[in-house]
C-alpha cells in the first residue's frame, strides 16, 4: 500500500501522525492555549510538550479557525465544509457549540482512523448529541449535517464519487481544509485532488497547512527523523516553498492563491491573544520557535462564481 515514488512511506505511520498532532493539541488545550472542551473525548491527556511546540500548534489552530469563521460568516453558514485527513479534529463540535455549523460538514480520513473516531463518537454522549439523526457504522457516520467518510485521497475518482454520495452539493459554497495532509501524498495525486475540487466546486475556498523549506539543515533533519518513523513527506518535495504552493493552486484551476509561512501567520494573529499565550509557558530560546514557524506554511485559494467576496478570506 505504500506509495512507490521517492522514499517509502508507511500508511500506518502517516495515520499515526494524527496521534502526534492530537497529543500536542491536547496538551496545549490543557495548558490553556485555546479552549476545546471536546478534545478530551478524542484523546487522552498527554505528556509535557515544550513551549515552542504549543505555540506552534496555537498558531496553526487559531489561524485555521479564524479563516473558517470568515468563510462561515461570508456565506452565512449556507455552505459546506470538507476536512481532508480530519483525524481526531474537533472543529465540528466547536462549531456546533457556537451554533455556527455549515449545512454539511464532511470529514475524510483512512478507514482505520474513521473507525476509531466513529467508535469514539458513538460511545461518548457529549460528542453524539451534536449529531442529528445519526446513522453510525463501523467506519462511517451519516447525519443531517455531519458525515464521517472513510476514503483514500490518492484515489480521486473514487473519492469524488464518495463525496457527492455523501451529499455534497457543488452549488453550495464549499471550504476544503487540508491540515498537514497534502505533504504526505505524492505530488501528482495532490494535484488530482486540487484539480477535482476546482472542477466541481465553482464557489469555494481551499486551505492547506503543510511543511515547507525542506532543503536547509532543519529540513534535512526533519526528513531524517521522519524516515526513521517510516513516514515520508512525499508531497513536500514538489511543493517546498510559498511560490510553488501558490503555483500548484493556479496550475490546477484555482484563483487568487496565497501562501505565507507560519512566522508571518503568527505575526498576524490577534496581538492580545498572542500576548496571553506567550505568558503561559516561558520560552527559553525564541529561535527554536522561529525556526519551526519558518518551516510550515498556510496557503489558500478560491473560486468565486457566485461573487461572495471569497477573496477576502485571509489573515
Amino acid at each position: 500500500m505504500a506509495a512507490s515514488v521517492g522514499l517509502p512511506s508507511d500508511d500506518l505511520a502517516v495515520q499515526a501522525t494524527n496521534d502526534d498532532a492530537t497529543s500536542c493539541k491536547r496538551y496545549a488545550v490543557d495548558r490553556g492555549y485555546w479552549k476545546d472542551e471536546f478534545i478530551r473525548y478524542l484523546y487522552r491527556s498527554s505528556e509535557k510538550k515544550s513551549p515552542e511546540i504549543s505555540r506552534g500548534y496555537y498558531a496553526r489552530v487559531k489561524s485555521i479557525h479564524i479563516l473558517v469563521d470568515q468563510f462561515l460568516d461570508r456565506t452565512q453558514q449556507k455552505c459546506q465544509l470538507v476536512t481532508f485527513g480530519a483525524g481526531s479534529d474537533t472543529l465540528h463540535w466547536l462549531l456546533w457549540k457556537r451554533k455556527k455549523l455549515p449545512a454539511l460538514h464532511v470529514e475524510v480520513d483512512f478507514p482505520t482512523v474513521t473507525a476509531r473516531k466513529s467508535h469514539c463518537i458513538k460511545t461518548r454522549p457529549v460528542l453524539l448529541e451534536a449529531l442529528s439523526n445519526p446513522v453510525i457504522t463501523m467506519e462511517a457516520i451519516r447525519s443531517d449535517h455531519y458525515v464521517l467518510l472513510p476514503a483514500d485521497l490518492r484515489d480521486v475518482k473514487s473519492l469524488g464519487k464518495q463525496l457527492i454520495d455523501a451529499g455534497l452539493d457543488p452549488n453550495l459554497p464549499t471550504l476544503f481544509l487540508a491540515e498537514c495532509v497534502l505533504a504526505y501524498v505524492e505530488g501528482a495525486k495532490v494535484n488530482d485532488v486540487i484539480r477535482w475540487t476546482a472542477e466541481h466546486f465553482k464557489t469555494s475556498v481551499f486551505l492547506n497547512y503543510d511543511p515547507i523549506n525542506p532543503f536547509d539543515k532543519f529540513g534535512e533533519i526533519m526528513k531524517q527523523n521522519l524516515k526513521s518513523r517510516g513516514c515520508a513527506l512525499l508531497g513536500m518535495e514538489t511543493c517546498p516553498d510559498s511560490e510553488s504552493q501558490v503555483k500548484r493552486y493556479h496550475d490546477n484551476g484555482w484563483e487568487g492563491a496565497w501562501s505565507m509561512d507560519m512566522a508571518e501567520v503568527y505575526a498576524r494573529l490577534p496581538r492580545d491573544d498572542v500576548a496571553r499565550i506567550e505568558r503561559i509557558d516561558f520560552l527559553d530560546e525564541r529561535e527554536l520557535l522561529d525556526q519551526l514557524l519558518r518551516h510550515y506554511c498556510l496557503s489558500g485559494a478560491h473560486l468565486d462564481s457566485q461573487q461572495l467576496g471569497l477573496d477576502s478570506i485571509k489573515l
Partner: protein
C-alpha cells in the same frame, strides 16, 4: 494581661452549651486573634458575620482577620526558600548499601581516583546508572567546594598547562560532551576546563552530563570550573526536563539537592584578571566593577533583575546602548557597554554563552564579546555546530567547531517527541 487561653476555653464551653451564642464565637475569635491563631479566628468571625451581617464591627473584624491570614500565607510562601533545612544535611551516605551485583564505578574511601571518572564516563555512555550512593557523594562533595567560593572566581591558567578551554551550553547532550573530550582531551591538571552554564535541560541526558561535570569538579577542584546558567534554576528545570529526568532516574530528594548545588554555583569567572566569563552577559547599568560581582549573594533562585539576573540572562546586541531583552528577562547590551565595562575593569574580553549560534560561536563587539555554544544540533532540530574556545597564556581565543554525534534514541525528558516539530 488577659489570659487568652482561659478566655478560649471559656468561650468554647459556652458554645458547646449553646451553638447560637454569638458572643461566644466573638470572644473565642478574639482570643484566637490575640494568640496569633488567625485561621481559627477567621472561622469564628465568619460565623459572627453570617449571624449579624449588618453588624459593621463584625464585618470589620472579619475583614481584618482575613487580611492577616492572607499576609501570613504569602510571607510563609516566600520565606520557604530561606528557612528550609538543607537537604544535604539529611543525607547519610553510610546507610546507603551498594549491592554486590553493582558493576559500575565505585568510590568508597579516600579521594576520588581518576579511574572512577574514566570508568564513570564509559558506564554512562552505555546508558547505565551510577549507584545513587556515589551520585550523592559527588553531589555532596561538589556542594562543599562551591559553597566556599566567591560569586566571581579568579582563575589563573595553571603553570602545568599551556591552555585553558571554555565550553558553552551543553543542555543534556551527553554524547556531544563526550565528543568534546575526544576532540580536546579529558580534563586534567594539564587540561583545565570551564563550563559556562546551562549544563542541563532540553537534552535527554542531563543527569549524565551533570554527574560527569560535577565529578570532574570533585576530582580537579582547582582545574575544572563550572559557572551557573539560567537553566540552573527551579523554574527552568521544571519546564525543560531536568527535574523530571532526575525524578525518573533517581529521586525527588536528589532533585532537591541539585537545586541547592545550583544555588551555590559561581556566577562568573575572571581568567588571568583579563577575561570575564559568564553565562549571559553584561549589565543594565554602567560602572559595574568586578569587585561587586565577587560579593553577590547568590545562594538563591535567580532574581528578576539586578546584577545576578543580568549575569545569567542578558544578551549582546549589535547596536550601541541597551535595550529590553527579547527574552523578557535581563537586558540587551551594545558594543559601547562592553567597551565601558572592559575599560573600567582592565579587561580585554568577555566570553559568554546563552545563545545558540549556527557556527557554535560568534565574535561581536569588535572582538570584545564572544559567544560560545557547545550543544550542536540543539534539540535535535537546529542543525547548528557546537564550539569551544581554547586560550593559551596570551589569552588569544582559538575556536574549535564540531558537528553533533549520534546518540541513543531517547525522547527529551517528559516531552513526547511529536513526529517532528509541528508536523502531523
Amino acid at each position: 494581661m488577659e489570659s487568652y487561653g482561659y478566655a478560649l476555653s471559656d468561650a468554647t464551653t459556652a458554645l458547646d452549651i449553646d451553638r447560637t451564642y454569638i458572643k461566644g464565637y466573638y470572644r473565642r475569635a478574639s482570643a484566637n486573634m490575640a494568640l496569633g491563631k488567625f485561621k481559627k479566628a477567621l472561622t469564628d468571625f465568619e460565623a459572627v458575620k453570617k449571624a449579624r451581617p449588618k453588624d459593621q464591627d463584625a464585618v470589620n473584624k472579619y475583614n481584618q482577620c482575613n487580611k492577616i491570614v492572607h499576609q501570613q500565607a504569602f510571607a510563609k510562601a516566600i520565606a520557604v526558600e530561606s528557612s528550609k533545612k538543607s537537604v544535604a544535611e539529611s543525607i547519610n551516605l553510610d546507610t546507603m548499601v551498594v549491592e554486590e551485583t553493582y558493576e559500575g564505578p565505585r568510590w568508597e574511601e579516600g579521594e576520588m581516583a581518576v579511574e572512577f571518572m574514566t570508568g564513570l564516563l564509559d558506564w554512562l555512555k552505555d546508558e547505565k546508572k551510577l549507584h545513587r550512593k556515589y551520585a550523592y557523594k559527588i553531589l555532596l562533595r561538589s556542594k562543599e567546594i562551591f559553597e566556599v567560593q566567591p560569586s566571581l572566581v579568579a582563575v589563573s591558567i595553571p603553570d602545568s598547562s599551556d591552555r585553558f578551554t571554555v565550553c558553552g551550553d551543553i543542555h543534556g547532550q551527553f554524547y556531544d560532551l563526550l565528543n568534546i573530550f575526544t576532540l580536546n582531551g579529558l580534563p586534567s591538571q594539564d587540561n583545565p576546563y570551564l563550563f559556562n552554564g546551562d549544563f542541563v535541560d532540553r537534552g535527554s541526558f542531563s543527569v549524565e552530563v551533570i554527574l560527569s561535570l560535577l565529578g570532574f569538579k570533585v576530582l580537579y577542584p582547582d582545574h575544572f570550573f563550572m559557572s551557573r546558567g539560567n537553566h540552573e534554576s527551579i523554574n527552568m528545570n521544571q519546564m525543560y526536563g531536568f527535574e523530571g529526568e532526575v525524578r525518573a532516574k533517581y529521586s525527588q530528594q536528589m532533585w532537591d539537592l541539585f537545586t541547592e548545588i545550583f544555588n551555590w554555583l559561581p556566577l562568573a569567572h575572571l581568567l588571568q584578571s583579563r577575561v570575564l566569563v559568564t553565562h549571559g552577559g553584561l549589565f543594565s547599568r554602567d560602572g559595574v566593577k568586578v569587585s561587586e560581582l565577587v560579593d553577590i549573594d547568590r545562594n538563591r533562585q535567580p532574581p528578576e533583575e539586578g546584577l545576578m539576573c543580568d549575569l545569567l540572562w542578558s544578551d549582546p546586541q549589535y547596536i550601541p546602548g541597551r535595550g529590553p531583552s527579547k527574552r523578557g528577562v535581563g537586558v540587551q547590551f551594545g558594543p559601547d557597554v562592553t567597551e565601558e565595562f572592559c575599560s573600567t575593569n582592565g579587561i580585554d574580553l568577555v566570553i559568554r554563552s546563552h545563545e545558540v549560534k549556527e557556527e557554535g560561536y560568534e565574535v561581536a563587539h569588535g572582538g570584545k564579546c564572544i559567544t560560545v555554544f557547545s550543544a550542536p544540533n540543539y534539540c535535535d532540530q537546529m542543525g547548528n555546530k557546537g564550539a569551544f574556545i581554547t586560550l593559551s597564556t596570551d589569552l588569544k581565543p582559538q575556536f574549535t567547531t564540531y558537528e553533533a554525534v549520534p546518540h541513543p534514541k531517547r525522547k527529551p525528558m517528559q516531552y513526547a517527541s511529536p513526529l517532528f516539530g509541528l508536523l502531523s
